[in-house]
Symmetry: C2
Subunit: 131 residues, 2 copies
Amino acid sequence: MDTKNDKLTIQQVAEATGLSVHTLRYYERIGLIHPIGRAENTHRRYSTDDIGWIEFLNKLRATGMPIQQMQAYAELQRQGDVSLPERVEMLKELRHNVETHIAELQEHLKLIYYKIEIYQDLIEEPTPEPA
Amino acid sequence: MDTKNDKLTIQQVAEATGLSVHTLRYYERIGLIHPIGRAENTHRRYSTDDIGWIEFLNKLRATGMPIQQMQAYAELQRQGDVSLPERVEMLKELRHNVETHIAELQEHLKLIYYKIEIYQDLIEEPTPEPA
DNA sequence: CTACAATTTAGAGCGTACTCTAAGTCAAGA
DNA sequence: TCTTGACTTAGAGTACGCTCTAAATTGTAG
């Protein structure tokens, strides 16, 4: 129930997560992913838990969180439950940033709608000639 | 009514738009901003129309539009009304991208809320010991 | 056993969007 | 007039997040 031994290759994980094999190794190197277990002491074998973590990383990235903060978060995660308060703080800050960002995008969206409307009117009725 | 002669210095435009003077010159170099008029034939003097355009550029950037597309849009703008249909197409594509992006952020936001909740429960009731 | 494909590491390279430097010109106040 | 500071250009440098290469090893299908 804890760590299923599904043992996927890096190739399979790349397909499953949308990250390239290069990026998967890069993420591990910089500590975003803990050192992955090896089969035959050389080739990586990922567990389904590992996949879950990588998918979470993908979501953090998609929110615009910089790699450095993700590294900090991963480090806290490794420290276990003692780091829960700090992780909550990070998540709250992220929540705030994302909400702010969404609000900003919605503002800009309004302008885009407005411009589309105006431009379409101008296209239908070119150079509104004084009657 | 067309181009007010408010004539701001690059310094003032930087303050007004939030871009650095470096970035303002960079944007002009790469064609995001049309060649700005000069006072005494060397120093740039920006009109309020120029400011308006730069603020629009800022909004495009904030939506995540890459510089290359912004260059294309700026070029269309320079061509005048004949390019209106193409600009509308670009704006529609942008609208789609922004809407998709907002939807994605809202999905991720849900997960963030969920995690905050779970973690806070764990903090209040540490290591739920089997009764 | 032979190929060929996948994996490994360390490290170099790349695309985007700035950001800064150097060397010189210009302007405005004391 | 002197000095201080803003402005100019061309071009170099930087930060971020990958992305790729080289050279060696390992795995697998026939």
